[in-house]
Symmetry: C2
């Protein structure tokens, strides 16, 4: 079978299975998730052996250490995978929720019911734990899933897929409700993202290159997460202690995450007093400063920032620093250079806080809080599909709800339109 | 200037203006809308003259009567346009609404704020009243708009655009917040739908051909409205009086609207008693019956339905009729053949009603109500951008909210992540 025919068969099966997952009871979905967790525990040695073969191949093919690290399963990470499935089982079922019912002058009652999107395609790199995680999130939200993991993790993905199928079977759900692509042919991705008749949304989880390629080729909606160029703006009415604490946490708690701050803006009236202190704190954490001209006068260790620095997501011990006139210039700068991920203002001034909240055009906008809070678990979503840098459908951290939609429902008693 | 350069300039200006419309106060937006209405009233004779020239050309070019009818403005329709602007001014402002604020264990408060999508492109046929309507809906929802109307209405559209600009100016908003494309070059549409850097969403308002073409070419999200193949399912537990009333209204109140019923399903246990009565009523309204074999035994005037009939949106005095075993087969049939627009069940049985509501995968699903209620005004939205047959972002009747998104906001007091 050629890859196109194969993918169309997978798509057709997913569309068919999505009808069953959409109407599946909460109990059936949870039974499947718990049975998947059990199967993963029971077949742990099998999973580890499959993964060991993947890892051996990856080493022979010269994959770098970071990729091998993400690829490798351990007894602990297999147990974490099983626990992850149990956690998703414990989340409230989003499907069927009825909201906003209102009686209209005609007599009908109108409101909304939450429903699955249908078929979700998830494309990810060689991280086998994503296979179990993605399967769980799609099933709990009533969707069928087509999963395409990095080719280096094929054996482990197939072993996990077998556990997922065992769980679905145990709950009386179609085993095609979660399909893991069996070919490593790259053309499979091209077909997956271009079958609107079978796939309702694509969620790419991986690097910027992967996501840009998929966005370009996709013929269906994509929930995409590009870069995180996050800002901390220290207002002229900032509390100095909060500024120091929030900047330290936003920039230095973890350097490589998308919600890490990459740029610091300081209001001119407090720059003389605060820029040296803030930059000295960053220096103690080994963070290099790339500053505007004014910054460099106050912070001698800063090197000159270029235009590219204002756009940069360093994911490293570097930060760009700019002195701005006021909250207005800060907002202007952020809306020009930020990646619309997460930006925070440190201020005690009510009007500046409200203006920042309203005018900064990003997925998460914060007052007096660390950018590191931009995360599905911190926001209370219970699970995270990803963090969207789009505006359409879902912005910022996306939970199970991001894989659902709302249809209108009308409850009548024989009403007709006049 | 070539058309691509022109469209990019329009796009750049719209993106720039969208920052001003996003932060515009409710008062400024309403001032602009009321000033537009005033300008339209004051320049009525000018608008009518521009339109008369359009209509004369259209007649010379042999446009059909229905198109000329939609193209033609009258004193009454110009007044209706002005009143439409006033009605949008009277609607609540969706922007800035804060919802779902919850305190998290970390101390932060997390919730959502409603924000505009940014730049909305609206593509429509030769109906000049849509120019004013679309401008109003985009502005009220805080978006900048790029409007492209049918080439036959160019003169009237430009005259209306001048009134729109006058209104924007009166409110201190950039005149580029609403731009009406000045070229009739068809290539302009191709560019408009393929500038993700400048346009956030496209709303095509027109026939199926236009919408299919745009969906195929678009590089940005499209809120699309394809066909309305709506079903009335008369359950075995239906009240006969409600069935008759709802079917009559759904099919015969207006034949040519997208929420008109095109297919009737009857549960087998009540087919002998109800099919003849229901079809006789349709016959009195001049509606021709295309029935399945069983229907034809009960309704001699029915001609045989083909597979295509189950898919058909007739927009005419024709209906397809099928006898089904029960609510399960009805749902199966609807999910196979319907266009996911609007479907209704007539039943007194609670369990069948709930099952139909939950399992029918359409934008509007109804119990004991006419499909004709699927409409933004009937649902209480105040205005309607269109009726979406998509699942992503917005389903069914789309009001101002469909042109908005929600960002996350976090209110802290110096919290950091541990």
């Amino acid at each position: 079978m050629d890859v196109k025919t194969y993918m169309q068969q997978v798509g057709r099966q997913a569309r068919e299975a999505s009808r069953a997952t959409a109407r599946a009871s909460t109990a059936a979905k949870n039974t499947a998730l718990l049975a998947m967790a059990q199967a993963i525990r029971e077949r742990r040695d099998e999973l580890l052996a499959a993964n060991a073969a993947d890892v051996a191949d990856a080493r022979n093919n010269g994959l770098d250490a970071a990729m091998i690290d993400r690829l490798t399963l351990t007894e602990k990470s297999v147990e974490a995978m099983a626990q992850g499935l149990e956690q998703v089982a414990a989340l409230p079922d989003p499907i069927g929720e009825i909201t906003d019912m209102k009686r209209r002058p005609s007599g009908i009652q109108v409101g909304k019911m939450r429903v699955p999107l249908g078929v979700v395609g998830i494309i990810y790199e060689a991280r086998p734990n994503v296979t179990a995680d993605a399967a769980a999130l799609c099933l709990k939200s009533g969707n069928a899933a087509i999963l395409r993991g990095g080719k280096e993790s094929l054996r482990a993905n197939q072993a996990i897929a077998a556990c997922v199928r065992a769980g679905l079977k145990a709950a009386g759900l179609p085993e095609t409700a979660v399909q893991v692509i069996e070919t490593t042919d790259r053309a499979a991705v091209g077909h997956l993202v271009a079958m609107p008749e079978y796939v309702d949304v694509i969620v790419p989880r991986g690097g910027k290159g992967l996501i840009e390629r998929i966005s370009k080729e996709a013929r269906v909606p994509v929930i995409k997460h590009l870069d995180g160029n996050c800002h901390v703006y220290v207002d002229d009415a900032a509390d100095a202690g909060k500024a120091l604490r929030i900047l330290e946490n936003s920039k230095t708690q973890r350097l490589g995450t998308c919600n890490t701050a990459e740029s610091l803006l300081i209001a001119r009236p407090v720059a003389v007093s605060l820029a040296p202190t803030l930059c000295a704190m960053l220096g103690r954490h080994g963070v290099a400063i790339r500053g505007c001209e004014e910054t460099r006068k106050l912070v001698p260790q800063a090197i000159a920032a270029t235009e590219e620095d204002w756009y940069a997501e360093y994911l490293a011990a570097i930060i760009s620093v700019k002195i701005v006139a006021d909250v207005g210039e800060a907002i202007e700068h952020i809306n020009t250079y930020s990646s619309q991920h997460t930006d925070t203002i440190v201020t005690e001034n009510y009007t500046n806080a409200m203006r920042f909240l309203r005018e900064v055009d990003s997925g998460s906008v914060m007052v007096n809080a660390s950018t590191r809070f931009a995360d599905g678990f911190e926001y209370g979503l219970g699970a995270e599909i990803g963090i969207s840098t789009d505006k359409f459908h879902a912005r910022g951290p996306v939970g199970l709800e991001g894989l659902t939609s709302q249809k209108w429902i009308v409850l009548g008693d024989g009403e007709v339109r006049s």
